[in-house]
């Protein structure tokens, strides 16, 4: 008994200190300070606080989950200890930074403002005590959340999630409110872009209350509804998708110009993601130079339509097939040399291709053709029958159409012979070949179709900006697209949209994040691969494989469900 308690303490001490180091790192690289400029709940709570206190809350929860102790009080004490300890490194930082200027020594982000955030604008000693006490309490709460029964935990969590969610995405909520109900509604609930404290409390109570109520009598209600209104179950199941489609169609009306611009960007990434999904998700060929095809599509479009002396001045519709065709051709040409390569080598060679294309676009060598670093200007807008697509709202529907087309093609291909061949190649090239699959043809078709989608995205991107520069086509685009299909779930079509929303949409809404966007991406990639490698919206095949692995308990060795490599 006493031994197990001692063990638990050591565990929570270690976890607490580890969490403290993480909190210290997040503070030293400047995230806390930057995020604390944005109020989550006006005048009370900033995103920086959220970031800072997620650490003790998380460590308290982890402590409780991993403790072998059954006694609640011991679990809670462990959470308290871990929370208290997680503040120690930060307190060390506070005293160190007050003693010497760490910025002099190169740590540029350890500013007085950061220390003020950490000490709640009090002195070192008082502030540190407050910080430690808060961290301890939050650690305690974190472990309490694990201990309390499900029926209380769920409403509380939902309340917190809704409040913070609305606070974080206040911009979207405000835009929708303004477009639906006018400025009065916005002013009623928000001050300078953040929730009023009372409104936040109300939101929390409503969300928690509704969850508790639904948890208590939701099942009975649903049964009752079905008996009162005789609707077939299939119809009910259609309600969600129908609402989703309606929402997608009227989105620009709700969001206003700026946010529609963001939606356009998300759309372009969905388009590229669907293309790369064919190459990586279906055929398992990790391509890190995907931006090359996007660039080729955009540059072909620009050269063909631009009204400067570099361009031919064709119309968008005349140039579109050529832009897509150029990308497809590039896909085949770049695909041939890498036919023999697998895995890591393929990834790095394609990355090299992408960089070669970018450096060539940037160089003086090709300047007479594609403008070098100055890029190509004066690309005319897209127009249909004299109607010009000028505003982001117009372009939205155009991009939506492109996405739907790509979605349809991907969906049909996935279940077609070609899609099955791709997946066979993904699982095992040698076996696939032995089964009579023509590897060369299958792989090249994958590269070509994937490239075609990117070419289409590029061809829309060029007139959207009306000018293109080599800097728009750097490696980060490839990485973004790769991340979004991994986060969404490799090989899953809805996953692409989900991934694009998370990775392209969210950072635009949380503009404070831009500086740390890639840090978060990187961490997200690692965490996803360790915790949830199948993505947020896994494809059906993946789900089946994972479930099979759990249910059947196959004999060790050869029987494991094979994941795509």
């Amino acid at each position: 008994m006493s031994e197990s308690i001692r063990f638990d303490w050591r565990h929570s001490v270690r976890l607490g200190l580890l969490a403290g180091v993480i909190a210290l790192g997040v503070s030293v690289i400047g995230m806390v300070e930057v995020f604390s400029e944005r109020w989550l709940i006006s005048g009370l709570f900033t995103v920086g606080h959220l970031l800072l206190f997620t650490v003790p809350a998380g460590v308290g929860y982890l402590c409780a989950r991993e403790s072998s102790e059954s006694k609640r009080s011991v679990v809670l004490v462990n959470g308290l200890i871990a929370g208290l300890l997680s503040a120690l490194p930060l307190i060390g930082l506070v005293f160190l930074a007050r003693a010497i200027d760490l910025r002099e020594l190169g740590l540029v982000n350890v500013s007085p403002a950061l220390i003020d955030v950490l000490t709640f604008n009090r002195g070192s000693v008082v502030g540190s005590l407050i910080l430690m006490a808060l961290a301890g309490v939050i650690g305690l709460v974190g472990s309490a959340v694990y201990v309390i029964p499900d029926s209380i935990q769920r409403p509380l969590m939902n309340g917190v999630l809704w409040t913070f969610g609305v606070g974080l995405f206040a911009e979207v909520v405000i835009a929708v409110l303004r477009n639906l109900f006018g400025r009065g509604a916005v002013r009623l609930l928000f001050t300078i872009g953040s929730l009023k404290p009372g409104v936040a409390l109300g939101l929390f109570l409503i969300a928690a209350g509704v969850t508790a109520w639904w948890g208590a009598r939701g099942e009975r209600l649903r049964g009752g509804l079905a008996s009162v209104v005789p609707i077939p179950q299939q119809w009910l199941r259609l309600v969600g998708p129908a609402l989703g489609i309606l929402l997608i169609l009227i989105l620009p009306l709700l969001l206003g110009t700026y946010l529609t611009e963001v939606a356009d960007m998300v759309g372009l990434y969905v388009l590229m993601g669907l293309g790369l999904n064919i190459v990586v998700g279906f055929a398992g060929l990790l391509n890190l130079g995907y931006v090359a095809f996007y660039a080729i599509g955009a540059y072909t479009m620009a050269v063909l339509t631009s009204q400067t002396e570099l361009g031919l001045g064709l119309s968008f519709w005349t140039a579109l097939p050529f832009a897509v065709l150029a990308a497809v051709l590039a896909g085949v040409i770049l695909g041939i040399p890498v036919l023999q390569m697998r895995g890591d080598y393929l990834a790095i060679v394609t990355l090299g291709f992408g960089e070669i294309i970018r450096i060539l676009a940037l160089s003086d060598f090709l300047k007479p053709v594609i403008g070098g670093a100055q890029g190509i200007l004066k690309i005319p807008n897209i127009s249909i029958a004299g109607l010009e697509f000028v505003k982001p709202e117009h372009l939205y529907y155009f991009i939506l159409a492109g996405c739907l087309l790509a979605f349809f093609i991907s969906w049909r291909l996935r279940d077609a012979r070609l899609g099955r061949q791709w997946m066979a190649v993904r699982e095992d090239e040698d076996v696939a070949e032995a089964m009579g699959i023509h590897l060369v043809k299958t792989k090249l078709l994958g590269f070509a179709i994937g490239a075609g989608f990117a070419g289409l995205a590029g061809a829309i991107f060029a007139p959207k900006l009306s000018a293109i520069f080599p800097h728009s086509f750097n490696l980060l685009v490839s990485i973004n697209v790769l991340c979004l299909i991994i986060v969404g779930g490799m090989g899953s079509l809805p996953g692409v949209a989900v991934g694009a929303l998370i990775l392209v949409g969210l950072p635009e809404l949380l503009r404070e994040f831009t500086e740390y966007r890639l840090l978060i991406y990187g961490a997200l990639l690692i965490v996803m691969m360790i915790v949830r490698p199948e993505g947020f919206w896994p494809s059906e095949v993946k789900k089946r494989e994972l479930r099979r692995g759990e249910e059947e308990l196959l004999p060790a060795g050869g029987g494991n469900p094979v994941e795509p490599a």
């Binding site: 400047g30 080598y345 960089e355 160089s363 840090l519």
Partner: protein, 362 residues
């Protein structure tokens, strides 16, 4: 009978000879023609004297020895884990960037000028330790939990780790360019038969050779080195022989980090400018090219590949491209390196020294 066989062979040839092969052959011949034609034209133009070429070669050797030091990390890790540590360029950046920050602080208080040699020693220690720590943490956090996962998975975490590391260091030290205090200048120049050589180039080259000799000694002569070789031969059998495989893998990452940290200081001495959080990416890719060129998994190969790539990259733009009438050929330096990577992987994936590992396992 014989006639039939011959006909069969011809048919076989026709069957095998696809348009893909044709394309690859055209590519091979095209590359050779471009290189030869460009070189002939450049040499015929006589824009550069022999001593100019020689100094380009020496600059290439110095640059190449930095690549070689980084390439050793790729090769060692590939040797034990059969994976490409995509984030190794960031390990190099970590040491170089941190030591630059320390060097700047030291220079501000005047220590750098007063005690240059101990300072370089200190910077070397800082850089190597930081890189090694980063490498070990990287292994612990991003790779160890995924051992035995499909090949694509650790590659993806490596990409993630690469970006996370870049932006962590950007957050720590800011996004501005930093400059190493100019230790390099103090050694001045050397005149050998009409060619001026910067002494720092020689220092870098010698330092790299010493490091590599030390590594060779470590791997071949020490007990840990022996267990390292055992693990790279077969992890399971090594574990059965009582070798702590996880520990050996961590040590491998640490050694890779130490070498990368040393490369960081060499880079700072040789090219003091332009040190920032993104400095590791391209050298990382190029060092990978060097490792592949030499034959991944081979220590001598990494050294050779690094030096060769350095020379190729330094001489290449002036030799191959300028002769073709390409303006500002130096801008295409990186294109040469990447093209070389692609060509090596296409036509000789086992590299100069390597066995036929690549096809079997990659």
């Amino acid at each position: 009978m014989r006639g039939e066989v011959r006909k069969g062979m011809r048919q076989q040839f026709l069957e095998r000879f696809s348009w893909i092969d044709l394309f690859l052959w055209v590519l091979r011949i095209g590359v050779i023609v471009i290189i030869v034609w460009g070189s002939i034209r450049s040499l015929a133009a006589g824009k550069y004297s022999a001593t100019a070429w020689l100094s380009l070669v020496i600059a290439g050797l110095a640059q190449g020895s930095i690549y070689a030091l980084i390439a050793l990390g790729y090769t060692l890790i590939y040797g034990v884990l059969l994976m490409i540590n995509f984030a190794h360029g960031e390990v190099y950046m970590a040491g170089a960037f941190t030591s630059t920050i320390v060097a700047e602080a030291l220079a501000r208080y005047g220590y750098a000028e007063r005690y240059p040699i101990p300072m370089i020693g200190l910077l070397l220690v800082v850089s190597m330790v930081v890189s090694a720590v980063v490498a070990v943490l990287l292994e612990r956090i991003a790779y160890r939990p995924l051992r035995g996962a499909p090949r694509l998975v650790p590659l993806i975490t490596a990409i993630g780790a690469s970006f996370a590391l870049q932006y962590i260091f950007r957050g720590l030290f800011g996004s501005a360019f930093h400059t190493y205090p100019e230790f390099g200048r103090m050694w001045g120049q050397l005149k050998v038969g009409g060619t001026t050589i910067q002494v720092v180039q020689v220092v870098v080259l010698v330092a790299a050779v010493v490091m590599m000799a030390g590594l060779y000694f470590f791997v071949e002569r020490t007990k840990t080195g022996k267990s390292l070789r055992a693990v790279s031969e077969d992890k399971e059998i090594a574990a059965l022989m009582g070798i702590d495989v996880d520990r050996v893998i961590a040590i491998t990452f640490a050694i890779g980090g130490l070498l990368a940290g040393a490369a960081g200081v060499c880079r700072g001495l040789y090219q003091p400018q332009g040190i920032w959080f993104y400095m590791g990416f391209f050298p990382g890719l190029k060092a990978f090219t060097a490792a592949v060129l030499g034959g991944i998994g081979s220590i001598q190969g990494a050294m050779l590949g690094g030096l060769f790539l350095g020379i190729f990259e330094s001489v290449g733009p002036n030799l191959f491209l300028e002769g073709l009438g390409i303006p500002a050929a130096y801008q295409l330096k990186d294109v040469i390196a990447f093209t070389m990577l692609v060509l090596v992987l296409m036509f000789r994936p086992q590299g100069i020294m390597g066995e036929r590992l690549a096809e079997k396992k990659a």
